[in-house]
Amino acid sequence: MAVPQTRSMGLPLINLLRLKGAPILQQLHLEERLLRTSYDNWCIINDGTTKRTVVMGVSGKAEELLEIDSVLRDEIPVIRRFTGGTVIVDQGTIFVTFVCNKDAFPDLQSYPQPIMSWSSLIYKKVFQGIGDFSLRENDYVLGNRKFGGNAQSITKTRWVHHTSFLWDYEVSNMGYLKLPKRAPDYRQARDHLDFICRMKDHIPRSNFIERTIDAVGSHFVLRSVDPEASQSPLSSKFEPSSRLLKREELEEAIFNSRSRGACAASASQAS
């Protein structure tokens, strides 16, 4: 029986999959399936996504994170994904995802912060000589402005680390997101437009992607694969958990939020 080759020249092998404009839900389903059913390492780069979409994490509460009335009015899709964090994505978002075996890097502990630190080494190389890049808590920043948000999922033997990079964004999109209750200290209560920045002001789009691939190549041996190679076999029974929220769920979130608000107001009047 042939043993799959997992390392070459002392570096782990990684399958590089380049997508362009793939819908974000399709990307998330792919990531989850590769996490749970593949034994290979993967780097997925999706250059923009076709439709403007809000993505919430596994525990995200729509009524706390989103301006739901506006989201419903403008029919913005809302997805609950298998990792954490909240982001609004569109064609101006570049996605880079790593799906890796724990033993790809035996010296790396598979907990959030070590994986976060490891990933920042790659982007430090990407932005060398280009911008004042650093990792602040869980965000990639240029100066003190966030341009990349991260989230992860960790299993017993593998992990996913995925990043949404703001190459460009529409100012109006930020109006769909509330100021989060939980925010990193360095945000210092800044609203969205004072907190984030556009990568396009620092680096051309194709240049960022090529530099990222080069930087990945310093940690892995790259093997380019066609999208067909990542397709699920017909026999696969895996069911991803990331899903599109129904309109009724968002309407119920508004109703529950208003009910709680009304109860709190009456309790306060009664006392």
Binding site: G57, V58, S59, F82, T83, G84, G85, P106, D107, L108, Q109, Y111, P112, Q113, P114, I115, M116, S117, W118, L121, N138, N150, A151, Q152, S153, I154, T155, K156, R182
Partner: protein, 164 residues
């Protein structure tokens, strides 16, 4: 422990990180003794199990909660669901990461800690007591023999942290 693992991940060699690496034996012993309880059994994925007659209680260890960070959300199975040794039964969310929690033994879930839905931070503040996650009726109690005892798990944690 995180500082030393991060320093190693970043391959930094400074005086500061070297001193973080060299933790005095007395400190490491007292740190690990305070975070590992006798009478419990431990999996190499950092879950603990306490077997008490017909029921076994399961949670994640102090080592795990310390490395995960503040737990903000917990997903647990319903009572009646089966669990398999080494298989995932739920997950915790911390710092935008979801992490699987794996069962050290096989059996059937008989009770779930409902307090964790309102107060997931109990896993951080009281990982071995109020932060318990599920209670299981073991289907194969001999599986407990394959798990680590307190001393073995302490050594396992020390070796894991030292190598990262």
């Amino acid at each position: 422990m995180w500082a030393s693992s991060t320093a190693n991940a970043l391959k930094i060699s400074t005086a500061a990180s070297n001193s973080a690496f060299v933790i005095s034996p007395a400190f490491s012993l007292s740190r690990c003794f305070s975070s590992v309880l006798e009478g419990f059994k431990y999996a190499n994925s950092h879950e603990w199990v306490k077997h008490d007659g017909p029921v076994a209680t399961i949670g994640i260890t102090d080592h795990a909660q310390d490395h995960l960070g503040e737990v903000v959300f917990v997903e647990l199975p319903e009572a009646g669901k089966p669990v398999t040794q080494g298989g995932s039964f739920g997950s915790v969310e911390s710092v935008k990461a979801t992490s699987d929690v794996n069962s050290p033994i096989s059996g059937e879930v008989v009770e779930v800690n409902t307090k964790l839905s309102e107060t997931p931070g109990l896993i951080n503040t009281s990982p071995y007591e109020d932060g318990w996650m599920i209670k299981v009726k073991p289907s194969n109690p001999s599986e407990l023999e394959s798990l680590m005892g307190a001393k073995e798990y302490t050594k396992f944690c020390e070796e894991e942290d030292a190598s990262h």
